[in-house]
Amino acid sequence: MILIQETLSLFKTSGFFFVTPGMIVMWAIGFTLIYLAIARDYEPLLLLPIGFGIVLANLPLADLMKPHEGLLWRFYHYGIQWEIIPPLIFLGLGALTDFGPMLARPVLIFLGAGAQAGVYITFFIAYAIGFDLKEAATIGIIGGADGPTTIFLATKLAPHMLGSCAVAAYSYMALVPIIQPPIMKLLTTKEERCIKMRKLRKVSRLEKVLFPMCSALVLILLVPASAPLMAMFMIGNLFREAKVVERLNKAAQNELLNIVTIFLGLPVGATMNAEAFLQPKVIFIFFLGLFAFMISTATGLLLAKLMNLFTKEKINPLLGAAGVSAVPMAARVVQKVGAEADKRNYLLMYAMGPNVAGVIGTVIAAGIFLTILQ
């Protein structure tokens, strides 16, 4: 009898006794993300730690997200709330980015701006259906297809939506090859998809070295709120192009980027506890995130078509779809859809221009939201 009572009291102090149906649903969501990462290769670097973070945050009594005490809370507080991890990710991205194609044909950067129209259109619609301004801005930025920027903005404007917005952003980034091609084909004719681009000029080393310094100056002066991301993006790129700090360049591209990716995914997933996540609003976040992504693709394409009305040298409008950040996935999709229309048409290098411009455009868009709404 005593043995049974002891066993029962042990069970009552264990986590099993406090498991709720909501927690079980969250485990299912977490394990689904882990499955998608491992079995389907959907953004595994982020969805795997996010998925595991969701499971960990929904284990009763573990208190991993307990303020000031929980391990994952410390990662979240000091890494994300203190604005350290997203800028460090941008340092690595800057070191990985070649601005050469963009510098060779600078007019293509406007396609990166055109794709940001989807961010603002979605912002407006989200506000119209009942989200407040800060929440609407956080949902809209999903259309920029830039994970770290989404996390950066969500932390500042709507921290309660951080997990759902981050998962939506990374999920849709993984689905770029599925989401974009139908829109690209719908909005362009076969003749347009076959347009061949002029050969890119050679960009000198001096131009590549001067670019990160000039753009950091110009863009941070214009939108100071974008400074944490823009500054780190450009210093990372300067490491790459200067060619004299190869150790720093390699560290930013590899070790540092990998380490901060671990510490980004886990706490982001851990913000998704059952009470905060299992709400009708979250369904709208995912729906509007997808809408943002689709509209960004469409506005990029339509801007390219509009530019063709005024320029002598025609631009292949498919390049507009690469204006969403998702580097280099969106550029690869442009190459694939272009090659389907004409297999001798190589668009990948041209698409990298608007693709990297899209990253800059999304950071500017986030900076403008912060300036006005914070």
Partner: protein, 43 residues
């Protein structure tokens, strides 16, 4: 609603303004560096 409209307009115009400034700074840098390169070539 007025606030949302103003964020919408300011946002889109701000992004295009930023990209426009970036475009002109790239053009200026490109012109200066090509001039420098051609001067070096002449020497």
């Amino acid at each position: 609603m007025f606030e949302a409209v103003s964020v919408f307009v300011a946002g889109i115009s701000g992004v295009f303004l930023g990209m426009g400034l970036l475009y002109f700074s790239i053009k200026i840098v490109s012109a200066v560096t090509s001039r420098l390169n051609s001067d070096e070539g002449e020497k």
